[in-house]
């Protein structure tokens, strides 16, 4: 029976030209959005290989200098001598710490155009190392990208509403609803059939087109199979929410025009207004002070620390007695050694200021994490970014590794600086290997977000089906 109703609905739906127009618009947007995302991913891959090439060439050149200087065939200025661990570690032999795009990064550009994905490591303060950023026209960052996530978050619900605002009201207004229901079919079955068919139509369009576009863009789907399945589930859940909303509104039995207005208003509130209000609220309640304050704090601390370099050095030796072994006396006047101690002191002093930025951001995030359950659009943004590995979660994971790498880097160079060792090879300098976030953590986050979309979606359906009992057919 249900299948016969579906077949009937399919006939009704396919005879409607607007449906096909909407689907065509949707299909075009999906294709363009996916290709756009893939282009950005390709750009990132290119930048990463440029960085790798640059690092390889640079280190090879410095290695050649070392060999030449050691064999005495050429002289090298002490400021540019790669054998000096201070010079090598701080300026010449920097290696890149890179976070490559995740397998399905093309599905959502997310924060990846804003948050840097590679850093050149040095012995400088961590804040200096991580202050770099990818170049981008700020106006483009402001506008955002036309990627698949944009199509899914904004356009998809709007099209769902456009195709289902008159789910029952159209037939009621034409007078055909009573005719259909004169057959042995329940109104709820009919409504369910209408929604199922429309949802399937949308999902088929998205699934097919995204797959084709991804393959056309040369994305390896086999590598990200689970992610793609997760992504598809997210799209299905989000669609379910909006169809749930449409059926809940339809079940109230108002005319089509009223339904359209109501649904458009809800879309505007959930997708456009609430997210920016959340942002306003979070940034007003927990404002992150301008980084200008941090810059000044570092400056003040280093001015003071520089004034007491040798005092700091002896204090540093107290904390690191192992380094004092190699002739502490003569090191006292060594500029490079003092610099290490001064940097450590500066970092110790400004840590409270630094922590403040992190704390405020965490506070903002926790406000958003609670509020987001009021807007499926924000939940969806989180889910899509997490699935594509372009969200804050994976980036935090990367930053933690960058911090650890910074420690390792210093752990390698600082003892050499204290020992006044001469590097004979640059090959032993520690390398960075990005460890991707454990996938179950990603899945857990995505599941929470999707749960927040699914639950109200189901509730809306249940509400709709119950309200249909009181639906006046004519």
């Amino acid at each position: 029976m249900f299948r016969r109703i579906l077949a009937h609905e399919w006939r009704m739906l396919t005879s409607d030209a607007t449906v096909w127009t909407l689907i065509a618009i949707f299909a075009l947007s999906i294709g363009y959005g996916t290709l756009n995302g893939a282009r950005w991913t390709r750009f990132q891959h290119d930048a990463i290989s440029q960085a790798e090439r640059e690092e390889r060439d640079r280190l090879a050149a410095h290695q050649a200098t070392i060999v030449a200087a050691n064999t005495g065939t050429s002289k090298v200025s002490p400021f540019l001598d790669p054998r000096n661990p201070e010079v090598a570690g701080r300026r010449l032999a920097g290696r890149y710490a890179v976070m490559p795009p995740a397998p399905l990064a093309a599905l959502s550009i997310g924060q990846s155009d804003l948050l840097p994905y590679y850093f050149k490591m040095t012995t400088d303060a961590k804040e200096t190392v991580t202050a770099g950023a990818e170049l981008e026209n700020p106006q483009r960052l402001l506008a955002g990208r036309f990627d698949l996530a944009f199509v899914i978050i904004y356009l998809y619900p709007l099209l769902i509403l456009a195709i289902s605002y008159n789910l029952l009201s159209a037939e009621k207004e034409q007078g055909t609803l009573a005719l259909v229901l004169s057959q042995p079919v329940a109104l709820r079955t009919l409504a369910l059939a209408k929604v199922t068919l429309r949802l399937l139509l949308f999902l088929a369009t998205i699934g097919a087109l995204a797959t084709i576009a991804l393959l056309a863009a040369g994305v390896d789907l086999g590598n990200g199979g689970v992610r793609f399945a997760l992504w598809f589930a997210a799209v299905a859940v989000y669609g379910l929410f909006w169809f749930g909303l449409a059926s809940a509104v339809a079940s109230l039995g108002r005319p089509s025009a009223t339904n359209a207005m109501t649904l458009a208003a809800i879309w505007l509130a959930l997708v456009v207004l609430l997210p920016s209000m959340f942002n306003l609220l979070a940034t007003t309640v927990y404002p992150v002070p301008s980084r200008v304050e941090m810059v000044q704090a570092v400056r003040e601390a280093s001015d003071e620390a520089n004034g007491q370099g040798s005092v700091l050095l002896s204090k540093y030796y107290e904390d690191h007695p192992e380094l004092a072994a190699g002739g502490a006396e003569q090191a006292m006047n060594d500029f490079n050694v003092i610099r290490v101690a001064v940097n450590a002191e500066v970092e110790r002093r400004v840590r409270p200021v630094m922590d403040q930025y992190g704390r405020q951001l965490v506070a903002q995030q926790s406000v958003i994490d609670r509020l987001r359950f009021l807007s499926p659009a924000v939940l969806m943004q989180d889910a899509l970014n997490d699935i594509s590995g372009t969200g804050a979660g994976r980036h935090r994971h990367f930053m933690a590794q960058v911090s650890a790498y910074h420690e390792t880097w210093r752990g390698y160079f600082v003892p050499l600086i204290f020992r006044k060792a001469q590097l004979s090879t640059l090959a032993d300098i520690p390398r960075f290997r990005f460890q991707d976030e454990p996938f179950d953590r990603t899945i857990a986050r995505v599941a929470t977000a999707l749960g927040g979309v699914l639950l109200p979606g189901v509730a809306l359906f249940v509400f709709g089906l119950r309200a249909l009992r009181r639906y006046k057919v004519a």
Binding site: R39, A47, Q50, E54, G110, L114, A131, G132, A133, E134, L135, E136, N137, P138, Q139, R140, L141, A143, G144, F146, F150, Y154, A257, A260, M261, A264, L268, V272, L273, P275, S276, M277, F278, N279, L280, A282, T283, T284, V288, P289, S290, R291, V292, E293, M294, V295, R299, E300, D303, Y357, L361, Q364, Q365, I368, A377, V378, Q381, D382, N385, A392
Partner: protein, 468 residues
């Protein structure tokens, strides 16, 4: 007659409960965002001003040292916040706030505020400009879509025309009526804006704030008028109110949400931005190229020896160390101008293409103008970056020429506060309003075209309005 029509339209609109709800909502959003913008401006501006004073004090109080050490110590330039940024924050969250002005190097402005915010930032910031450019047009559409089609559907349009009302008057009257209804929202919002502006401490960065604010208000009004005219025109032409609403909502959606993304993506495809690593390594390669510097040194050496009629450079009464430092700077400056110039040119071209795409959506030229007048666009950022870099170069010149004049070879030379005082405090004067208008002449032209075109569309649609 026109007045009477306008009054009827106003009465009709304001009696509608939906209008009241919408009006209160839009007003609340505008005022909230203005207040938030005002608070944010005050906080950040205070932080930046204080930091700017502190960096100056540090420069002056750095004690006795060699001028070149002082040049390495340098100062910081902090991006001042423009007063009108409380209306439109523009690109401010996406550009760095601080640059270190040190010897040998043009550093980028670092620390983009958006990096210290959560991902919801990317849904767009709720600013007064956002309210005016995105939400108010929607409000206009909802208030206006049925003005003609509704009368037709009720059968009152036929009556009206039978009274001998000219369709042109009808269109004008209705437009004025809608405008009056809109004024109920706009006037309080404007008053709030003026109050906020006048409650900010005087800060000289934005010359002619008042002129800018007035112009900003004017172009917003032109934009609203465009939307009213388009809505009336569509309402007159559409078969039914429903169709009018669908057409207008699609236009609003495309204009507000799709086109700016699509246009900036397209612009970036036409003029691709290089990656940071590509940019940096190309620049470093040029900086490290010794041939140009060597030539410069040689040229100056010959020049000096000629001028002082000396047989060797050591006989010249000028310390060549200072000269060579300065020549190194000049070489660097050329490289920076070339590379940053090329990069900024790419951005400018992208932004120009974005403006031109305003042929298909009025929001694009409006955004450009709004940010431009608020002083939060890329052109203003570039102007500030340029000023900061010029200041850095002036510091280098003062330090290096001092070394050239005073330092004696082989003797440790230190200078004191008198020299640091010779470098004037960093003062930045934002470009004049005329410069903004000149920079955005295409946007102005496009906005004028949209206004004229939509007015024509409204009148011609009204005179051919369907009666049945």
């Amino acid at each position: 007659m026109i007045r009477r029509i306008a009054r009827k339209e106003l009465l009709d609109t304001t009696r509608d409960g939906r209008f009241r709800v919408l009006a209160i909502l839009v007003l609340a959003i505008s005022v909230t965002s203005l207040l938030a913008g005002w608070k944010h401006y005050r906080d950040v501006q205070a932080q930046h001003e204080q930091a700017q004073r502190a960096t100056r004090a540090q420069w002056l109080g750095q004690g006795s040292k060699n001028p070149h050490s002082a040049a390495h110590y340098g100062v910081y330039a902090f991006k001042p916040k423009n007063r009108l940024s409380m209306v439109d924050t523009g690109i401010d969250p996406y550009v760095g706030v601080a640059a270190w002005l040190e010897a040998h190097k043009q550093n980028e402005f670092k620390y983009r505020p958006a990096q210290d915010r959560t991902a919801v930032q990317r849904f767009g910031e709720l600013t007064a400009a956002e309210g005016f450019l995105v939400l108010l047009p929607l409000f206009i559409v909802l208030v206006t879509f049925s003005t003609f089609s509704g009368e037709r559907e009720q059968g009152t349009l036929r009556q009206l025309l039978s009274l001998g009302v000219r369709t042109r008057d009808l269109a004008l009257g209705k437009a004025l009526g809608v405008a009056a209804a809109l004024a109920l929202v706009l006037v309080p919002a404007t008053i709030a804006g003026i109050v906020c502006l006048s409650l900010t401490p005087e800060y000289g960065s934005l010359a002619g704030d008042t002129a800018r604010a007035a112009l900003l208000g004017t172009i917003y009004l032109a934009y609203f008028a465009t939307f009213i005219a388009i809505s009336l025109g569509v309402s007159a032409r559409a078969r039914s109110s429903r169709l009018a609403l669908v057409v207008l909502l699609s236009f609003w959606f495309a204009n507000s949400l799709i086109v700016s993304r699509a246009a900036s993506d397209l612009a970036a495809t036409l003029y691709p931005t290089p990656s940071a690593v590509e940019f940096q390594s190309a620049m470093e390669k040029d900086l490290a190229d010794p041939s140009d510097v060597e030539q410069r040194f040689e040229r100056r050496r010959q020049e000096l020896m000629q001028r002082y009629n000396a047989a060797s450079i050591d006989a010249v009464p000028i310390n060549f160390a200072g000269i060579s430092l300065q020549e190194g700077e000049e070489h660097g400056n050329e490289v920076f101008d070339r590379h940053y110039g090329r990069l900024f040119e790419i951005y400018d071209r992208q932004n120009h293409a974005y403006q031109i795409a305003g042929i298909i959506a009025p929001l694009l030229p409006m955004r450009a103008l709004s940010m431009g007048l608020a002083g939060t666009d890329f052109a203003h950022h570039r102007s500030f970056v340029h000023a900061a870099e010029e200041y850095r170069r002036s510091i280098q010149r003062v330090m290096n020429y001092d070394i050239a004049e005073r330092a004696k070879p082989g003797v440790v030379y230190t200078a004191g506060p008198e020299l640091w005082e010779k470098v004037p405090d960093f003062q930045y004067e934002a470009p004049a309003t005329g410069w903004v208008l000149e920079h955005y002449r295409w946007s102005l032209l496009l906005m004028a075209a949209w206004l004229a075109g939509s007015a024509w569309f409204a009148f011609s649609s009204a005179s051919h309005a369907r009666v049945d």
